[in-house]
Subunit: 238 residues, 2 copies
Amino acid sequence: MNLLLLETHEVSADGLVRLSGRRQEHAREVLRVQAGETLRVGVRGGRCGLATVLARDDQALELRVELNAAPPPRPGIDLILAIPRPKALKRIIPALASLGVDRVVLVNAARVEKSYFDSKVLERTFLDGLIDLGLEQARDTVPPTIELRERFKPFIEDELSAFGPAARLVPHPTASAALAPVPKNQRVLLAIGPDGGWVPFEIELLAKHGFVPVSLGERVLRVEVAVPTVIGAERAGP
Amino acid sequence: MNLLLLETHEVSADGLVRLSGRRQEHAREVLRVQAGETLRVGVRGGRCGLATVLARDDQALELRVELNAAPPPRPGIDLILAIPRPKALKRIIPALASLGVDRVVLVNAARVEKSYFDSKVLERTFLDGLIDLGLEQARDTVPPTIELRERFKPFIEDELSAFGPAARLVPHPTASAALAPVPKNQRVLLAIGPDGGWVPFEIELLAKHGFVPVSLGERVLRVEVAVPTVIGAERAGP
């Protein structure tokens, strides 16, 4: 935990916070904070800063916060992600939150197993917990939105305009273009397929809607390795 | 498993292979191969190709292999990695094998916990199993070499020449240069710090030996997210 994430309503008008539960226990047992020390804090969806520990006992942690910094800049990335197996989903959600992805749409695809929809990882409270882990890791306060779409075709046909202008890219093994940086003033919308890849119908539908196939080379990467690799490549450069 | 990894001695002069154990069980229970079907195979350190299933029963799988392809091209990357916590190490080793990193040196650092050295993940057979998972995922046959150095300073002072010419880069939060692609005809040698980062002494020693600090931005990423992000950025472009 590199940042203690607070909710707006937890901070009083004069900057005082009293915490109990998971965050208090983490501050006490892992960070071992003492009265007088400072901690990095941030308010969900808002500003970051430092908190001074006023008092600490087994039940609660009292802080005075000063929120004088903006959260980190965002890389301008949205993601359409074929629902990965639950174990991979559990790893990729904190990673996406830490990388500062803005919007994640988890979509069905021909090679997505039906059972994945019943995974507890897709429950709202579980997802929110995973997002918080990623924000706390990256010292960010702004969570990605995460949505689920059970039908791929109507989503691609009817909802893409909501993303606004962006370089639309779909990693695909047989693509002739290599991954290359996109200028940073341009947003990127990525469509990442399931294990085994998008089927031809899905690739054609994506291509029809402006997604350019790009190749990561011959190596088949796990989704939790492929996504940071692609994001790193697209946002490389000064 | 996207490739069945064979040992040289398992392939007879006329291309016949008889497998039992983990790979036979995986082929039977997960891939559900039947006689007459083909599988992607590769020989450790050598060539790739296809195998035709000649016979299959509960005890063994009989294959005829044709090794007519080279393993995938390698990105030209070596890594000096401060030993991460065992859980992260368990995830990063298959990722590094799948990304085609050539040489990984796990080094001690000021912020590496001493207990990490006793982790069973560092045992040779455990590491080899993790490497195989990554190779099977990426359809590669060439394992990275993985070495351990318990003393950081003599390793940096005495052993760097073994890596040969390369762009030497050290991701560091306060660096003024951003991540940018390195021309693909040039190798890359990365020094990735522990949770909490390199300490000033380590950064200075690395800088003295030609490592250029580069920034990933304000976000603090977990090692298993940071490494693919950096590799993606360094190897982006045509």
